[in-house]
Amino acid sequence: MNKNIERLVNGLWKENPTFVLMLGMCPTLAVTTSAINGIGMGLSTTVVLVLSNIMISALRNLIPDRVRMPAFIVVVASFVTIVQFLMQGFTPSLYASLGIYIPLIVVNCIILGRAESYASKNPVIPSLFDGVGMGLGFTVGLTFIGIVREVLGNGSVFDIAIKPLNDYHITLFGLAPGAFIVLGFLVAVMNVVRRKMEAKGRPLPEVQGCLAGDCTTCTLSTACTGKSMVHVKPEEIPVNPKDVAKPVPNTNVEVKHADNQHNTEDVEEAGRASSYADEMLEGKGEDE
């Protein structure tokens, strides 16, 4: 159960898809003209995310590795179609204002990202909570951007006009440039909060996975162009006899060496930390 709660918190705060992972930027920037739109988009994505996480997690041992992407897409697309028809039937106005972005949930990188990096490797229940956490994190992010943009651009919140602000609204924030500006400022605020918490000695846990260069568990690492590919050795370049005289530009390899060093340092540190814990235990034993 503890792990499930950790998944929830992870999606909401530590790896918030909007402000930390910067995933799903297209709907984030396009539909957040008002708070209602933000919530609608967020919740419909959450529903699809939870359902597809459950389904993919349940099927994870059946889906062959080579065709996993098409399989994921089929699963996600089926759920998106269901959600789309439900929205068309029950919330026609929201459906109209979200427009093309509902079918586009199929290719939302949060959903595919979670399917690839979590649901396809973990059991059903944690995947469900991962989907809920990520989805709610996305919803909170979109709603927050929506509220800020609606207040500044339209002088209202959830379509309720705020009296004095209503006369002083700035139209730009309801348009595309406003989305970029608001998102930029919110991410900056988020980073300041992060740094303040680190300064206070309560650092947020480090981001794991791709962002931290942790490629050991990733199945995509052979296709990845990320800079910290530790375990992949640079392929031998077939040497062309014409090029023998010239020094072959070898910068890439060196960069990888640097990364190697960095990463082994990390590993060593982690090792030290654990051995330190052992020492503590030993010390305890001695005391007794």
Binding site: I170, T171, P177, I237, D243, V248
Partner: protein, 318 residues
Amino acid sequence: MSDLLKVSSSPHVRAKDDTTRIMLYVILALMPTTIFGIFNFGLRALALVVVCMATCVLSEYLFEKAIGKKSTVGDLSAAVTGLLLALNLPHTLPIWQAVIGSVFAIVVVKMLFGGLGQNFMNPALGGRVFLVISFAATMTHFEFDGVAGATPLALLKSGEAVNTIDMLIGRTGGTIGETSTICILIGAIILILLGVIDLTIPGVYICSFVVFLVLFGGHGLDSTFIVAHLCGGGLMLGAFFMATDYVTSPITPMGKVLFGICLGVLTGIFRIFGNSAEGVSFAIIFSNLLVPLIEKVTVPRAFGVTRVKKPKEVKANE
């Protein structure tokens, strides 16, 4: 050893010019058109100028204080931004909108990108475009002599006759600083004589705009039409005072020509084929974005260096 033999490190020849002095020159050159604007539109225009300049300077000071940087208010660039922004506003604009525009120009367009020298577009024009998009109604409402009316450019677009003499002197509706072509030209001559700007960018800009008008304007070589387009709107102010901004214009000679052509063609497209009558500010901002590209293409070849064919790159990673 005698003093004669002591040698300091280079540079040995120093000019008196620094940022503050150049900015002072620009303010001086803007004075004729500012004073004419205040005379033309009344004290309301003066209030806007003062508010914009004060807000710009204050927001730069406060921003630098907030992030713990050394204050650069003394170089007067914020004051110039404020003045240029005010000259680009209609005098009927509510004061609070001018304040928001000034803050946007300094904080978002200039300071967030690293301050003077790092801004990717002209801050004053960034502020103006922000206001045009945000407050379309008040930004396109022009009064002259207490009567609301269309600007000469809008009249021209709808095919009505305009008085070019009035436009030359500036007795027409428009933003505070753009109406009087003569005053702007006086300022431009001051800048050129003081060596602050060179004629390449404005010259190429205006010439290419005229060529575009003759080709696509629909009036052929009608001199009244061309003169009206040159004197109307922000073309003169933009060409001499904003397109020549050091930070946001190319430094290579060829780049300046390219930049001018871009400006002329874009202004022509916006004015002739666009919905609104005016297009100078959008043209300049758009060209500002192209500047890094233009400079990359037009790096002059060093003396004695011949162009070598690039050897085929060995792909190391694939």
